[in-house]
Subunit: 98 residues, 2 copies
């Protein structure tokens, strides 16, 4: 299992619209191959900055199965108009947890 | 509850030493006031980049109770020599999870 970490700056004043749109996207994620969980984090120090922490079985489940699907276009149609710039996306393996 | 997100670049070649040192630090975290959980993530795209995701009851539990303690000095003594630069630290609230 891997974690997708996407850092997204939202246009100031549109934070609540963005949060509501993410809430409406649950069905999209829940039907994706290899999707495991989704967390939306909001920065305390920079309140227009959000991070998605999304767990997938494999990197390919995110980068190929989801990114190249019509559902990805639907997701971006829901939330993309609130982005102040392109998301910064990275993936991680969890080395240790306690 | 809040999440501390600390992004740390490790000196290339010292990744396994750093991971072992983090493993040795479990006792330090487990005795902190308001500490809830700890995850060590390693970037797939940039393998010398790590992120700590640490959950605390409050921001103060991290920034005051832990940061101003002797235990913080012990933690940094364990891991600090492997850092390639100062960690970038931010805190988040979880807005939504599913």
């Amino acid at each position: 299992m891997i974690t997708e970490i996407a850092q997204i700056e939202i246009k100031p004043g549109h934070e609540k619209d963005f949060e509501a749109a993410v809430g409406q996207s649950q069905g999209i994620f829940k039907r994706q191959k290899g999707w495991r969980s989704f967390e939306l984090h909001r920065s305390i120090e920079k309140p227009s900055r959000y991070r998605l922490h999304i767990k997938w079985d494999t990197l390919e489940n995110h980068m190929v199965d989801f990114r190249e699907s019509a559902d990805f276009q639907e997701w971006r149609a829901l939330v993309g108009s609130y982005f102040a710039g392109p998301p910064e996306v990275e993936h991680t393996n969890t080395v240790l947890s306690f």
